[in-house]
Structures are given as structure tokens and as C-alpha cells.
């Protein structure tokens, strides 16, 4: 049995107070549930990161829009191919220091590690596509009604079984 994780160990007083207030506003949810259909070793896995990772050749996340209206965050998403490395991507996040993940993408979006687990038979396969959006979204309508369904559709088309969601 491991020690209980302290949710606030690395955040400051202000952020801690804010998160606690947001938690207090939540009411109990009906939690959706899909049981694991087959062993992990036979499952296809996709990653989703909120780090605002995009291929450098793709459209950047809109940071100027957020600078103009700090209540707004870019609600779009980007597809990142399985083979991407830190040399081919940029990180567009204004709330967390991107320098570690820029140095080694696997700190936040471990595509290389996932392929190793597939090679070692721990998981079935790494999906052909993975996904990222920018995690600071105060008005979530577009993210929930447009971006997420589009990600799901592509995951289904690529026979994804399991999704690992990773806040940045």
C-alpha cells in the first residue's frame, strides 16, 4: 500500500485555494464506465495530453487569443503521430513551464516509452495517432462538444481500446 498522494505538494497557496474552491463547487457525478474489454497486453493505447503539444508543421495553439482575453483558452486539439519526437513538436501552454517537455517530450507525452511497452508486450499496440489540447479552458463548450467527439471518432476508427489522459 503506497502513501496517499498529496494533491497540493507542488502548488502554491493561491492555486491550492483555487482548486479547493473549484472542488467544493462540484456535485456528485454519474461516472461513465467501460470495463477493460481485453488484457492490457492485447489492447491498443492512445495518449491524450493537456500540454498543448502540436507538430511544429501544424497550426500553433492560439496564445495571442488568450493574451487578448485571459478568460479564453484555445479549445482546439491536435493529432500527434506515434513517431513524433521533441524535435518535431512545439508546446503552447501559458500556465506551466514547457522547458522540460521541450527537452524530452516523454516527460509529459511518452510516445517513445509507450512504443517500448508495446515492443515488450506490456500493451498490445501504441495507436497510430495521439492527441493534445491546451488544459486551461474555463469555458469548455467547444472542447466538450466539438474537440472531444472528433478525437473519439478518430480513436474509434483506429480501433483504440484504452486512453491514458494526462493533465500537464
Amino acid at each position: 500500500m503506497s502513501k496517499k498522494v498529496d494533491s497540493y505538494r507542488y502548488v502554491g497557496y493561491f492555486t491550492r485555494k483555487l482548486i479547493k474552491a473549484w472542488i467544493a463547487r462540484e456535485s456528485p457525478h454519474e461516472i461513465p464506465w467501460t470495463p477493460l474489454a481485453k488484457p492490457l497486453a492485447d489492447s491498443t493505447v492512445a495518449l491524450v495530453s493537456t500540454a498543448a503539444v502540436a507538430l511544429t508543421s501544424d497550426r500553433p495553439f492560439d496564445q495571442e487569443g488568450e493574451r487578448r482575453d485571459p478568460w479564453w483558452g484555445d479549445p482546439s486539439y491536435r493529432v500527434i503521430p506515434n513517431s513524433a519526437t521533441e524535435r518535431e513538436v512545439s508546446i503552447y501552454h501559458l500556465h506551466v513551464d514547457p522547458s522540460h517537455a521541450e527537452q524530452d517530450l516523454n516527460c509529459a507525452f511518452p510516445l517513445a516509452r509507450l512504443q517500448e511497452l508495446a515492443r515488450d508486450g506490456v500493451v498490445g499496440e501504441s495507436a497510430p495517432s495521439h492527441y493534445s489540447y491546451m488544459g486551461y479552458i474555463l469555458r469548455p463548450r467547444v472542447l466538450l462538444e466539438e474537440s472531444t467527439p472528433a478525437m473519439i471518432e478518430r480513436m474509434k476508427a483506429e480501433q483504440v481500446d484504452v486512453v491514458l489522459l494526462v493533465p500537464f
Partner: protein, 111 residues
């Protein structure tokens, strides 16, 4: 995603928040923001965290479960830097107009 037939797990360093919004399965990790899988260049460490986070899928059999992963960050909080080089736009705005802070906390977000 889960309602659409995908099985999900969230690797979170703020598991209290992630659970409160109804995440089906949470792998909790006491790592700082920006490096949820570990330090740059530490491939073994990153792989261990990834394997443990995915392992949670085979450990939880009911909605809303949290598994605390046993990893420990090598630096004390005073030495950890995760804030961006430029202050986020919302922080700058609230510094200029502190009376808007209540809207931010209450989720009363201006259009």
C-alpha cells in the same frame, strides 16, 4: 470517452481535483506540474510511471477509484520550478483587477 466505449485512466498530480470532476479511474502521482512521467532523460523512470499508470486499468473495477502510485520526486517542493517564464494572462489580469478574482473562483466566467 468512457461513455463512447473507450476505457480510460487519468494520470494526475492533483488527484483530488481529477476525482471531483468524475474521472472514471485515477492514477495519482506526487510529481510536479509539467513532468508527470518524470525527469528529462530518465527513460527508465518514465517507463515505470507509464506502466504503473496503465496498470491501474487492471486494478480498478468500479467507477471513481483512485490508486496512489508509489513514486517519489527527488527534489523538495522548494527546489521545484514548474511555473512558466511569463506570468499567465489571467494572473496578470487579476493582479490589475483583483475584484475579478471572485468570478474566477466561482466559475462565473465573463463571455
Amino acid at each position: 470517452m468512457e461513455a463512447a466505449g473507450l476505457t480510460t485512466v487519468t494520470l494526475s498530480s492533483i488527484p483530488e481535483f481529477t476525482s471531483s470532476v468524475g474521472a472514471p479511474r485515477v492514477a495519482a502521482i506526487q510529481y510536479p506540474q509539467g513532468r508527470p512521467f518524470g525527469q528529462p532523460g530518465d527513460a527508465d523512470g518514465q517507463r515505470n510511471v507509464l506502466r504503473a499508470a496503465l496498470g491501474v486499468l487492471e486494478q480498478l473495477d468500479r467507477p471513481g477509484g483512485v490508486v496512489d502510485l508509489p513514486f517519489e520526486w527527488p527534489e523538495p517542493p522548494s527546489q521545484v520550478r514548474w511555473h512558466p517564464p511569463e506570468q499567465p494572462p489571467i494572473a496578470k489580469l487579476l493582479k490589475r483587477k483583483p475584484w475579478l478574482y471572485k468570478k474566477f473562483v466561482d466559475g462565473d466566467i465573463p463571455d
